[in-house]
């Protein structure tokens, strides 16, 4: 007779044969995300006089493989904010579902108008990210939230897989923080200069920065999404093509890989 606890309540092996353990939940330790698998690269955003421009390309990579080429990494929230995701795509989709639930319950409790501003949404997301990192089960993303704050002023802030938050006139995640952020900071070094920037200028800065990223970031693509958020709402374009590319500079790049001359 098997008296061990794991055999309790199970049919006896000597009568019924060995128990098929595949029917019970395995006793293994629960597993958490330890690394991102399918990933999106940079998200860029910059504030201007009346709002915020945000962009991300439509690529989801599997390691160095350009796996999915039509993945939308910007999502609108309540018609007043946009969330941009870098990092793990499945975690992005999880947060997406979560935000849809949040919209639903918010619409139920106040149906007539959206009440969660971008500032409120950013706070909520950062608490979510921080809670998950504290459970050692992080959502492997770097997120930008763009929109307007409770006073109607342009709002732009980031949160990452650790729950770290920060806000600046221009923000970029991933490689964008090294390649695009210097370009954007030249146009909007501080809040005052961002408040002078026109919408057209801001869009142009973002498009140029996306182009630089496409030139230099191997995990990027030339089809991208761009959204402009003002008090009039969100103007989201999800299938933009990088215009005016010039690869003339590529000839002059030397000193990498096997090329020695």
């Amino acid at each position: 007779m098997d008296h061990r606890p794991m055999a309790w309540g199970r049919p006896r092996d000597d009568v019924y044969g060995a128990y098929d353990a595949s029917y019970v939940r395995p006793n293994d330790p629960t597993q958490h995300t330890q690394q991102p698998i399918v990933t999106g690269t940079s998200v860029l955003a910059i504030k201007f006089k009346e709002g915020v421009v945000i962009a991300a390309d439509n690529l989801a990579s599997y390691g160095s493989l350009a796996r999915f080429t039509d993945v939308k990494r910007l999502r609108t929230f309540a018609g007043t904010s946009v969330v941009g995701f870098g990092g793990d795509v499945s975690d992005m989709q999880y947060i997406n579902r979560h935000l849809t639930d949040l919209t639903l319950s918010e619409n139920y409790s106040s149906p007539d108008e959206p009440r969660l501003s971008a500032a409120n949404l950013h706070r909520y997301l950062s608490k979510l990210m921080y809670k998950r990192r504290s459970k050692f089960d992080p959502l492997w993303n770097h997120i930008l939230v763009a929109g307007l704050d409770d006073e109607g002023a342009p709002f732009l802030a980031a949160t990452d897989l650790l729950g770290t938050t920060y806000s600046a006139p221009s923000l970029a995640t991933g490689y964008g923080s090294m390649l695009a952020q210097p370009i954007m900071r030249r146009h909007a070094p501080d809040e005052e200069s961002a408040a002078q920037l026109s919408q057209e200028a801001a869009i142009e800065v973002i498009r140029e920065s996306m182009k630089v990223l496409f030139y230099r970031d191997a995990r990027s693509m030339d089809r991208y999404s761009i959204a402009v958020i003002t008090k009039d709402g969100v103007d989201l374009k999800e299938d933009e093509q990088l215009e005016g590319q010039s690869w003339a500079f590529a000839d002059r790049i030397k000193g990498y890989g096997t090329q020695t001359v």
Binding site: T33, Q34, T41, G86, F136, S167, G174
Partner: protein, 262 residues
Amino acid sequence: MAAMFSQNPLMNGAHYATTDAPKTNDYREHRFYPYTDNGGTTLAISGADFTVMAGDTRHTSGYSINSRTEPKLFKIGGTTADQHDATIVLSVCGFAADGNALRDQLDTICKIYRYRHGKAMSANACAKRLSTILYGKRFFPYYVHAMLGGIDEEGKGVVYSYDPVGSYERETCRAGGAGGSLIMPFLDNQVNFKNQYAPGSGVGHDLQERERRPLLLDEVETLVKDAFDGAAERHIEVGDSLQMFILTKDGIEEKILPLKKD
């Protein structure tokens, strides 16, 4: 694969969310590291009837500057969300997400205290409570160097400084964070007059220490600015702007001064 989605491929170790720690030649353990260091420096000096709390506003990840305007100083325990009538200031330096969580927790506790007792929490009660909060996470600490500034029940300025797990002490001055070790010796000399002797008092055991006296507010403000200019010069994680809170019995005054942005 994680390196694809990195803050900065040059950085590794504590600045980076994942650590690749080779255990043996056969295995590589790859695990999530829940902390990071967001840099910056904080400084607090207490006077006879005032306290000055200061911090830079640079927020970093590795070699990148995330923001030039992210505060490390927070007013605590006011009646409203804008903290216009707060009397206590908390400064946190280190892992910014933990710092924000700590600030939220302490402020909530102060609000509940006010609701239950109908009065604001005193600085020393708040200081003790902060220690308990930090120790409450002894085995998964808030990775921050916290400081609390206020005015005590006798009207004197107070500064309490903490280690990440809640050991705390009332001090006349303390510098913390990335530039803490650069500023602290300067404060020893300029605030507590360490290694300053009366001129002509002799050598060796004959040396007379310079007599200690509490500093005046404008002297302290100058010291703070000098200390941060020095730290910004020599430490890459310090700079952009200096945020200063001056706490007196009349309330809290805020000053923002420019620092080096390079």
